[in-house]
């Protein structure tokens, strides 16, 4: 009777299943062990995050990705903490037999000073990416600006806008690599940003110090559950042990 009167739940038909998925392609991290742990490297069309304590190698890895990515195209590098070092990029490029000047010219660098500035830069990156052959957008670091500036509703909105912009970049087929600080919760290290940044990245890698100059990368997403790699932070960048 309810259905006859148009009361209750409307009748729906199930939608058609989505079309077949495009295969993944990757940008190498420059560390064979880490590439293997990630199934090939940092995937295009998805967000990959690296989180860990200060000095764990997060910035080094995204700078190295910015070098490695130039075998395929250009890079946009957004820096929220002022930790980008061109001279380090030069060392990494030289170690890998690449022309340092050309590598630096292939990185479009921007410094973000506020959450909304970061979001605006990412929107601009999306506009430029398609025209300028960009393959990687690197963001170092993604959680600190909203956490520093905002609380409550303002923080929710700031993370909403930033994550939305990162996902748009990934949806354009770009590789997006972001770093995140950690905080201590109940005596355990957790990625900063809490629920607002939970699972915003498809691939998630925890970095930790593992001896003098040695770093350990542990894949913590479900795709690579339990996979890990160790690498050395050398003059030439991150290299296999």
């Amino acid at each position: 009777m309810e259905r006859l009167l148009g009361v209750g739940h409307p009748a729906h038909s199930r939608p058609e299943p989505p079309p077949p998925l495009q295969p993944a392609s990757y940008i190498s991290t420059g560390v064979r062990g880490l590439d293997a742990a990630l199934g090939g490297g940092v995937p295009r069309g998805a967000i990959t995050e690296f989180y860990g304590e200060y000095g764990a190698g997060k910035t080094q890895l995204v700078m190295q990705l910015s070098v490695m990515a130039q075998r395929d195209g250009r890079v946009i590098y957004v820096d929220t903490e002022g930790t980008f070092r061109p001279e380090r990029v030069v060392e990494m490029a030289a170690y890998r037999g690449m022309e340092p000047r050309r590598v630096l010219e292939g990185i479009e660098y921007a410094r973000a000073y506020t959450s909304m500035h970061l979001a605006a830069l990412l929107e601009t990156a999306a506009e430029k990416a398609l025209d300028e052959g960009v393959v990687l957008v690197a963001v170092d670091e993604v959680s600190s600006l909203p956490r520093r500036e905002e609380s409550g509703r303002g923080r929710v909105e700031a993370f909403h806008v930033i994550v939305g912009a990162l996902k748009r970049l990934a949806s354009l087929g770009l590789a997006v690599a972001a770093t995140r600080q950690v905080v201590t919760v109940g005596g355990e290290l957790r990625p900063a940003g809490g629920a607002a940044l939970d699972s915003y990245a498809v691939r998630s890698v925890f970095l930790e110090k593992h001896g003098e100059g040695v770093r350990r990368a542990v894949v913590v997403d479900e795709l690579g559950y339990g996979r890990h790699a160790e690498f050395l932070l050398s003059e030439g960048g991150a290299v296999d042990l």
Partner: protein
Amino acid sequence: MIYRRLVEEGLIPPRGYSLEVVGTAGSARRLVAWEAVDALLGEGPVLYVDLSGRYTHMLRLKGRVPEGLYLYTTPSPGDIVSLMEGGGYSLVVLDSLPRLFFDMEAPYRGRWGATALVLYTGLALAARDGRFIALNYLSRRPFGDSLFTHYFTHRVRVSAGGDGLRVEKLYPGSGEIVLGDVKGGWEEGDAPRPV
């Protein structure tokens, strides 16, 4: 295996549930839902609302979408409710609660209301003998704990440790299973080579 163990050992019933699966970052909590999909696809179509994109990426690595899987990555809360009401699914998975809340286009209060509406629809499915799994984030407490708890008939906490994947029942009652040697969503050698 994980899902069947949960049912066999009484942590969840075979059907008629709205299950919250909570875990910290790195807890591998999605493996519970992924295995449930594998286990239940044979019983009928499955709706997977993949707001995190991880399940979609895993399928991309495998190179195929299983027959009977209805996969959506960017639906609005209204779309999700409409899809869930479509009916006839052997399982509906929401991946995840935080991504639903933070990614939707809505004012602050609207976020809470729209998330609650999706969870209510999951609870209504459970009342009609359906199965609904929502993945949630755990910090000190599960995300949205004080508001969303009552939309779940069952709750489990997943944690990954040295002895394997640990699934602890939070409600109703208590219980625990440990699953050793659990692997991720794709096996060694499945992934394509770098290009």
